[in-house]
C-alpha cells in the first residue's frame, strides 16, 4: 500500500496524466453548455425584450439546467471510473462506483432494527488489508412514516464497513451508541427506544469509558467478552474518536459490521466549471479511503494468534 506521504509523487506520476485527459473532456462539456446557454438565454431575452412572452426564457433556463445535469453525470462517471478508481488502486482496493454494500449484508448486520423502505448506496470499495478482507461503501437507508403526511426519515447515512473478524464465534454481539446519546439523528429516537425489545441480553462490561459510549447486547455473555477483549474495547473507542461520529458495530457470522454515520457525499466529481486538477480535494479523497482501510489496523484485525486463520 502506498503510504500517505507518497501522495505527492503518486499524484505527479499517476494522477496528472489522467487528470489532463479528463480536463479536456471537462472543458469541451463546459464549452458546450456555455455556448448553448448563451444562445438560448439570448433568444429568451429577445422574446422578453419584444414583449412577446416570458415563457421561452423560463423554458430555456430549465432546459439548460437539464443539459448541465446530463453532462455533469457523464463527466462524474468518467471521474469516478478513472480518478477514484486509481486512488483506490493505489491502496490495493477495487472500486465500483455503481455498486454498494448489498441490502442483504445490511440486513444481516442487524445493526438497525427498522426495515428500510428505501435503500440507496454507491462507491463500493473492496479488497484485502494483509489477511483481512474488507468491503465498504456509502449507504443511505430511509423509512416512510405513515399517516396522511407521508415523509421520509433517515435510518442510516454514512459509510457501511464490513471486515473479516479474527476470532471464531457463533452468536451475535452488538455494540451500539448508548441510548442517551441520540446521535444518529432525530428520526431515530424511536429506533433507540425499540432496542431493548429487539435486542438480545444486555452485556455489562467493566470498561467504564466504553460502557458510557456504548450499549452492548449479546446472545452469549462469555462470547461477547471473548470478542470484546479489553484491548478491543479501547480500540473501538479510538475508532470512534478518529471518525468523530456515531459508530455502531455488530459481530455476526465471522464478520464485523461497522456503521459510521457521516453526512457528506464522498468521491464526487467537481462541478464542470472548475478545474478537475484539484490537489487538495484529491488528497482528501485519498485520505478518506486510507482512513477506512485503517480500520483494520485500528481494530488490530490482522492479528491472527487465535484459532481463526
Amino acid at each position: 500500500m502506498t503510504p500517505i506521504t507518497d501522495f505527492q509523487s503518486f499524484y505527479q506520476t499517476n494522477l496528472k496524466p489522467k487528470l489532463a485527459e479528463l480536463e479536456t473532456i471537462r472543458i469541451s462539456y463546459a464549452k458546450k453548455i456555455k455556448l448553448y446557454g448563451l444562445i438560448g438565454i439570448g433568444a429568451g431575452l429577445a422574446f422578453l425584450v419584444f414583449k412577446i412572452s416570458v415563457w421561452p426564457l423560463i423554458l430555456i433556463v430549465v432546459a439548460i439546467f437539464f443539459l448541465y445535469r446530463y453532462y455533469a453525470k457523464r463527466f462524474g462517471n468518467s471521474y469516478k471510473t478513472q480518478i477514484i478508481a486509481l486512488l483506490a488502486q493505489a491502496q490495493d482496493l477495487q472500486y465500483d462506483h455503481e455498486s454498494s454494500i448489498s441490502r442483504s449484508a445490511y440486513d444481516q448486520s442487524k445493526i438497525f432494527v427498522r426495515t428500510p423502505d428505501r435503500f440507496w448506496g454507491e462507491d463500493l470499495l473492496t479488497g484485502k488489508v494483509d489477511k483481512t478482507g474488507i468491503w465498504f461503501s456509502e449507504l443511505h437507508t430511509q423509512y416512510k412514516s405513515g399517516g396522511k403526511n407521508k415523509s421520509w426519515h433517515t435510518i442510516f447515512r454514512g459509510i457501511f464497513f464490513i471486515a473479516d473478524f479474527n476470532k471464531n464465534f457463533i452468536g451475535e454481539t452488538y455494540v451500539l451508541p448508548d441510548v442517551s446519546e441520540n446521535i444518529f439523528g432525530s428520526g431515530l429516537g424511536g429506533f433507540f427506544q425499540k432496542l431493548n425489545i429487539a435486542r438480545p441480553q444486555l452485556v455489562k462490561l467493566e470498561d467504564v469509558e466504553f460502557e458510557k459510549a456504548f450499549a452492548i447486547y449479546g446472545t452469549d455473555q462469555v462470547e461477547a467478552r471473548y470478542i470484546l477483549s479489553p484491548a478491543l474495547m479501547q480500540r473501538i473507542l479510538s475508532l470512534k474518536e478518529k471518525f468523530n461520529t456515531a459508530v455502531a458495530l455488530s459481530f455476526i457470522g465471522s464478520h464485523v459490521y461497522i456503521a459510521l454515520s457521516i453526512s457528506k457525499n464522498l468521491f464526487e466529481a467537481p462541478w464542470l466549471f472548475s478545474s478537475v486538477d484539484n490537489y487538495k480535494q484529491l488528497e482528501e479523497y485519498y485520505n478518506d479511503i486510507a482512513m477506512c482501510t485503517d480500520i483494520v489496523t485500528i481494530l488490530d484485525l490482522n492479528t491472527r494468534i487465535w484459532m481463526k486463520e
Partner: protein
C-alpha cells in the same frame, strides 16, 4: 402487592445467584480445555527441546494438581502458576527456531491463545455476574431477603499480577 414485591425480589436474588453459578461453570469448561492442551503441547515441544525437562515436569505436575483440586482458592492459585509456567515455556521456545517454525506447534500455540482468551472472557463474565449478585445482596430492599435466606456476598476473581501481562504471549508469537 407487598407479597408480589417480596416474591419478585426473592426471585431476582435466586436468578442472580444462578447466573453466578452458571458463569463459574463456564470457567470450568474453559479450564478443562486448557488442561487437555497441556499434554499435547509438552509432547510436541519435547521432541525439539531436549534440555528443558524441568519446565515440562513442572507443567505436568501442575496439571495433575489442577485436575484434582477441589476448593476454588487452590484452583485459582494453580491456574496462575500454570499461566506462569506456560510463559516460561514460550520464552524458552525462542531458543528453538525449529520448534517455533513447526506447524504443529504453531497450531497448538494458537489453540493455547484461544483458550486463554476464552478463559479471560469467562472470568470477566463471572465477575460481572458476581457484581450483579452482590449488588442485589447489598442493596435495599433485597438485602432484607438476602439476610433472611442466607444469600452471602461472593468474591470476584482477582487476576494475578503476572497474568495481567498475558498479552506478551502475542508479542512472542509475532517476533
Amino acid at each position: 402487592m407487598l407479597l408480589l414485591g417480596a416474591v419478585l425480589t426473592y426471585n431476582n436474588l435466586v436468578g442472580a445467584r444462578n447466573a453466578v453459578e452458571n458463569a463459574f461453570g463456564t470457567i470450568d469448561v474453559m479450564l478443562k480445555k486448557r488442561y487437555d492442551l497441556i499434554p499435547n503441547l509438552i509432547e510436541v515441544a519435547k521432541t525439539y527441546m531436549k534440555h528443558e525437562n524441568e519446565i515440562f515436569t513442572n507443567l505436568a505436575s501442575l496439571r495433575a494438581r489442577a485436575t484434582t483440586a477441589t476448593n476454588t482458592d487452590e484452583k485459582v492459585a494453580i491456574e496462575n502458576q500454570i499461566s506462569g509456567a506456560m510463559k516460561n515455556l514460550l520464552i524458552s521456545v525462542e531458543n528453538y527456531p525449529d520448534l517455533k517454525a513447526s506447524e504443529q506447534f504453531t497450531m497448538l500455540q494458537r489453540s493455547w491463545n484461544e483458550t486463554e482468551e476464552q478463559i479471560s472472557a469467562a472470568r470477566r463474565a463471572y465477575n460481572a455476574a458476581v457484581t450483579a449478585y452482590n449488588n442485589a445482596v447489598d442493596k435495599f430492599p433485597s438485602n432484607i431477603f438476602a439476610g433472611m435466606f442466607n444469600f452471602k456476598r461472593k468474591e470476584v476473581f482477582m487476576i494475578a499480577e503476572t497474568e495481567r501481562q498475558n498479552v506478551s504471549a502475542k508479542a512472542l508469537f509475532n517476533s
